[in-house]
Amino acid sequence: MSAASLSRDAAAPAARRPILEAVGVTKRFVKRLDLAGKIAQRLGSSIHEEVVHAVDGVDLTVGAGEVVGLVGESGCGKSTFGRMVAGILPPTEGTLAFDGKPVWRDGQVASRETALAIQMIFQDPFASLDPRMRVEEIIGEAPLVHGMTTRGERADYVADAMLRVGLDPDFRRRYPHQFSGGQRQRIGIARALAVKPRFLVCDEAIAALDVSIQAQVINLFMDLREDLDLTYLFISHDLSVVEHIADRVVIMYLGRVVEIAATEAIFDDPNHPYTQALLSEVPRIELRKRVYQPVKGEIPSPLDPPSGCHFHPRCPHATERCRSERPALREIASGRWSACHLNDPS
């Protein structure tokens, strides 16, 4: 077997040195009242500030060299969490530590070193590259600013970065529009790698690509992991991709983590009813003419989430307790965490 699958078996998550630790990370977006709203409120209207709990108390530890897949449907807060990790969006509450040092201090990224060590790769390769910059400038700008290269050596530096992601360095004077979607995504990856990061947050990094190009980029991620000893937080809604590349999977629903487990464990024996529902919906090439038996209902609005367990209105096993009490994320077996009342001995 390949080296990738060997390293996957060799290192259980517990054995890894933690590189990223999130404790109670919360992000709330508040829509403040405008003047008219405030006046209306004074006059006794029921108008009030709207608060979206995008991320609601997430605890997560990522080991060095690990690939953690973060999965959930739209609006579950997975991208918001990724942005907080990458130093783009400050958390409202909770702490994020990278290599033992806090990522955030007073709403600012704590240190330049941490900011460079964690890089993000975005979903849309068309929107995330400046259309008026040449590839050389896109990839070379940050290393130049941070003194990793000089103006004279930049061309070679960029050429190295391009070669690493499988782009021809002869194209470095071109503009983004001269590349295909897959090549643009490689430019985005080269840009992230140019500052020698240790941790990559990939936010739906392959969702916008064609199937055969997706395979190329997934392989590239796996090669880079081997070559550069990278750690990944791989955010995706595509379970089959996450199953393929992740060591551990985190499932989120409406701002909360509902289950964390090793990839094999979660796909072979999902514990949380939401994980079970999600997995049963995944289309698979091996399953022919299947009868779809979908979960009922839709994802509730994060403006007004259900009480207790957020999943209870759609859950086939919901009880009275699920409606009133929030289930805690508890370790139900070694390395397996699930937030469901059904796991409690009754």
Binding site: V211, Q214, A215, N219, E243, H244, S280, P283, R288, V291
Partner: protein, 342 residues
């Protein structure tokens, strides 16, 4: 088998642009029978959507159907006048688009949009049309349909909107539905619900369906037959099990190999080298030959469509034989290799 609901013969839809002729669809043939689901699979630019638009007669300038026949219940649609086509569209043939926000009129209520579609094709009273609309909404699993009829599209979630679009497509009990990537923009659980509705409706009403998608896994769960398109041509078609388990065309093999699958967890994915060619002034011969591991001198000529075992048809000089596992092991020497630098 009785006569197919739709038979497309050697369809060519070309766009005559200033820079040259874009052969978006170039000699496509397939058929779909009543109650059957045909999966039309391909990557961006393979011509799968243009095939769907051609059937409905929705090709705008500078494009036109250059050759071929589209036989709908035995009648050729290509020479039909626009007024005749209009009568078919929405009644006998309906389409579901990828983005339901684009297909629903944002300034009209759902009831207006739905009764309009009924009244355009049937001689019924307004009250009866509303009743039909209501029934259609119930059929696609929309709760409290009376309330929903009075809503505007922006009041619906993406999944609900797509259900409304499906309900509108099924309003006049069409013989054929063309669904163009209807679940691509949706979440997994919502996608499951939509696939479920589409599946049940087709089975119950005997409607033929063409499901256009780039997602092989969705097609695997839904379709009876599959057509794989590449650069405007159908490179392989046949019963779903035959094509997915014993793919013959190197492109189909590559496509299946690049989908992450249970059996190959953690391993390297097979990757097709290079990228899809521009359809502008495409060279004669097999369009896939520059990316194909099995290409030979013969591929400079246009490959003919040949019949293969298990009811498949393949457009290739050097097709694979035997089941997929065997093909993946033997026929793809660089399947696990690191990517060569350009």
């Amino acid at each position: 088998m009785t006569a197919p609901t739709l038979e497309v013969r050697n369809l060519r839809t070309h766009f005559f642009t200033r820079d040259g002729v874009v052969k978006a669809v170039d000699g496509v043939s397939f058929s779909v029978g009543a109650g059957e689901v045909l999966g039309l699979v391909g990557e961006s630019g393979s011509g799968k959507s243009i095939t769907g638009f051609s059937i409905l007669g929705l090709i705008d300038q500078p494009g036109r159907i250059a050759a071929g026949e589209i036989l709908f219940q035995g009648r050729d649609l290509v020479p039909l006048a626009e007024s005749e086509r209009r009568k078919l569209r929405g009644s006998k043939i309906a389409m579901i688009f990828q983005d339901p926000m684009m297909t629903l009129n944002p300034v009209l209520r759902i009831d207006t949009q739905m009764t309009e579609a009924v009244l355009a094709h049937r001689d019924v009273s307004k009250a009866r049309a509303l009743e039909i609309a209501r029934e259609a909404l119930v059929k696609v699993g929309i709760a409290s349909p009376d309330e929903r009829l009075m809503s505007y599209p922006h009041q619906f979630s993406g999944g609900m909107r797509q259900r409304v679009a499906i309900a509108i497509a099924f309003l006049n009990e069409p013989e054929l539905i063309i669904a163009d990537e209807p679940t691509t923009a949706l979440d997994v659980t919502i996608q499951g619900q939509i696939l479920h509705e589409a599946q049940t409706l087709c089975r119950e009403t005997g409607t033929a369906m063409i499901w256009i998608t780039h997602d092989l896994a969705v097609v695997a769960g839904l379709a009876d037959h599959i057509c794989v398109m590449y650069a405007g041509r159908v490179v392989e078609q046949g019963p779903i099990d035959a094509v997915l388990d014993r793919p013959a065309h190197p492109y189909t093999v590559g496509l299946i190999g690049s989908v992450p699958s249970r059996n190959r967890r953690g391993g390297r994915l097979f990757q097709i080298p290079g990228m899809t060619p521009s359809l502008l002034n495409i060279d004669p011969g097999c369009a896939f030959r520059n990316r194909c591991p099995r290409a030979s001198a013969a591929c400079l000529q246009e490959p003919p469509v040949v019949a293969a075992s298990h009811g498949r048809e393949v457009r290739c000089f050097n097709p694979h034989e035997g089941p997929l596992e065997q093909t993946m092991q033997a026929g793809q020497p660089d399947a696990g290799a690191r990517e060569a630098l350009p």
